[in-house]
Structures are given as C-alpha cells and as structure tokens.
Assembly symmetry: C2
Homo-oligomer: 245 residues x 2
C-alpha cells in the first residue's frame, strides 16, 4: 500500500482498475446432500450455464455489506450465517473485462433455503455431487440435479465450479472444530439432525455414540428440556446452540 503515497494528489478515478464483485454460495441441504442455489444465465457469455448469485461492489459499501445485499436482493432472505471464502482474481474469469470476485459462503437452514427457492423465481436448487473427499486437488465439484430432474450434470458459468468446490472443502475443514453446523439447523434441533448435517457435508457416515459424546463434551449445546413432536416412535430431545448466533 505504500504506493498510495504516489496517488495522494491524483484523481482516484484516473487509473484503470479491475471490477470488483461478490459471488455467493448459498448452501443448504436437500435430501441429506449439500445443495446450492443458482441462476441460469440468459445472456452471453456463458448463456445457458448456471451461475452463483453475485453483484458489483459499490464504492460506499463494505464487502460484507455487498454480500448481504446480494442475499437480500437475489435470495430474498437475511439474518443467516455468512462468511468470506476466498478472492478469485484470474485474468480470464470473465471474457469481457477484468473482474475480481470476493466469494462468500452463506449457510441456509431448511426454511431459509425453501423460502429463497419459492420467493425468487430465477433461482434453482442444485445438488452438489461431492467429489469423494480426502484427496486434495483433482477435478472437484461437478454439479447434478435440479429440483425435479435429478441425475444430470449442470454446467457452471465462469470459474464458479472452483468457488463451489472451495466452499465445500472449507466447510468440511471447519466442521469439526467450529460450530458452523448449527447455522444449517433451526434454532431447536435433535442430535440426529446435527449428525445428519455433519454427514451430508462430510459425505461420510459417523459413529453415533462417538458423535454424541464429542458434541456434548464441546459445551456448545444446551438441552431445551422439550422433545420433538409428531414422531411415531420415541421422540428425541431438542437442543439449542449455547453460543448466541
């Protein structure tokens, strides 16, 4: 930043600058698998391909504010967990001009995911076909399956497949040592639901007693005292997150 000295007396608009955008991975769960909300591109370039919702960053808004605005304007929701992921600055991300994009990850609990899908006509849900984990690198994150037509692979626009892949990998990494998983659950939830979230993100089955022990020992959970309703079997106890969300 020392070169800013050089610019002290200059018109800030006089220098060529990359465009700056934010792109959001709107991540939720569908049928026990991670899913994301995408927009089908109508125009060139990449017409017909699927893109993450995004927007340019205005001069008078922070990056976080821009991300929250996209969440409001393109998904119609707010008040959910959102975090910065990585900044993508490849030269040919967009064929028209130089665009640097700050990627964000938003975690949508089921009601928010459904609300966005129902309330915003352009959005579609896409299951993320998780590349089997562990191995770093590799091709990563093919997409498949829209709301109804399941099985097909969706072509993604720009470098959005990379962004999506990174989102899943980041989430996997944070899952075990942070409380992000709660961001994908309603305020009250059962331990089974929590385990389902972990299994969906990790793409793995987990050991029930061990999982329960770990979670309860963490001190992040608080029993509500009540139990789930409407089951035809023994109802599970409901917990809530102890940390204020």
């Amino acid at each position: 930043m020392s070169e800013t000295d050089f610019l002290a007396g200059y018109d800030p608009g006089a220098y060529p600058r990359p465009s700056l955008t934010v792109d959001l991975v709107l991540l939720g769960l569908r049928d026990g698998r991670p899913a994301t909300l995408l927009l089908k591109r109508a125009q060139q370039p990449h017409a017909g391909r699927w893109a993450l919702p995004g927007s340019f960053v205005a001069l008078d808004e922070t990056l976080d504010a821009a991300a929250e605005r996209v969440l409001r304007e393109k998904a119609g929701i707010s008040g959910i967990h959102i975090e910065q992921l990585y900044t993508f600055g490849g030269l040919d991300r967009d064929p028209r001009m130089r665009v640097v994009s700050v990627a964000y990850l938003a975690l949508l609990p089921e009601p928010a995911f459904a609300e966005a899908l129902a309330g915003m006509p352009g959005l579609s849900a896409a299951i993320i076909a998780v590349p089997w984990s562990g191995e770093a690198g590799g091709p990563v994150a093919a997409l498949s399956a829209d709301g109804r037509r399941t099985g097909e692979t969706l072509p993604l626009a720009f470098d959005h497949a990379d962004i999506l892949a990174l989102a899943i990998l980041r989430l996997r990494g944070k899952l075990d040592y942070s409380d992000v998983a709660f961001a994908l659950l309603p305020e009250h939830f059962t331990l089974r639901q929590l385990q389902d979230v972990h299994e969906a993100i990790l793409g793995t089955r987990l050991n029930k007693p061990a999982f329960r022990r770990r979670m309860l020992d963490r001190g992040w959970l608080e029993p509500t005292g009540s139990r789930e309703a409407g089951t035809s079997f023994r109802p599970a106890e409901l917990y809530r997150s102890r940390n204020p969300r």
Copy 2:
C-alpha cells in the same frame, strides 16, 4: 455476477470502482519468535506508522502475480511459500479513497528473511508480540521491537494490525494439519528446528517425544541420512520434506 450482463456494451472504465491492492505479511522467525518485515511510512496519511509492503493490482496481472511482484520488488526475494489470507474491504481503511486489499501471507525461512532485511533498505524487522492464544476475538497483535531496540510497541498503519493478527491465527490453525511449517525452514532441518518453528508460532512449549512421533507418523518427513555439523554435542539427524515444495 449476473449484473455483468448489464454492462456488456459499456465502457468498463466508466463506473466507479474501489481501488484494489495486495498487502503482504512477510513472516519469519527471530530469536524463536514470529517476526514480520515492515516499511515506515514517510507521507500522510499515517506518516511515521509502520505498514505492510503492498501494491496496486494491475489490470493484466492475477492477484497471486501481484503478490509475487511485491515480494520481488519490495523484499527482493522470490520462490517462497505464499498464500492468500483474506480480503479487507472496510470503507475507511484508507482515508483518501476506497481501497480493497487482498492480504497475502508469505513465509520466509531464515536466509530469505535476512536477505530481504539486508537487501532492501526501507525494511525493518518487527517481533510480533503474540497475544496469548486460545481466546478468539479480543484486541490482538500488538507489535513490539525492531531489530535492535527491543521492547517498544510499533504503531501500525491502516488496518494492518488486523491483517497481522489474522496471519498469525491462520498459521496457528494450519500448523497441525498441514505442512506449512516446512516453509519456514531450510531444505534440510532437524526435528528440534521443526519443533522450534511450531513452538514459535503457537507460543507454547511442546512435548518432545509426542511431537517427534506425530511428525514422523505423518509421513511428510524423509531422513537425509546425514547429520548436522558444528555442534559441541551429539549432532541431530537432518530431515527433508517429502512433498515437493
């Protein structure tokens, strides 16, 4: 990014955009403590305060390339580990104009650190007084001590204290499940040196047998067969990283 449609036929330069920079945390170790290389600002704003080396991002270079250029031009070195850290986009980071900065972390083994310090007149080494770990949030990362005058706290320019704090926290988090530590060591090193790196970054003493077992079990290390020279006691075995750097 869907709004890029809107701009398809427009002059890309016609819209107001934030300036985009990269700022580098040049991290090495001095006397068993993490240290960083800083530049003292001569002009306003923040004249007299200390800043991370940085630069504007050119239209025809990637973010990574910009970071490597800063490494070359401001530290006089290259070929070392460098990774993107986080992107800072607060509105008032720089009082003159809106500047969004992509922060990078560069890890300098001792020779590179010394070479940069000796070869680039403006650079100073500053010990990072690590805020005692564990607790998240908090004030974080006060600086102290230049090369000679130890003990005093250096005032940092802009939001560079935040960047520095994040760099240390990120490194601590990655230390145990990745091989970043090797990036702070020469090609051949002893297990004691490796442990010293870990202890410096974590700000903690580690258990020797346990540390050795863990490291050797990871499979990241390869014995070179030779031993260190010039000791007045039993020389330690030298290892190298198995992964190609």
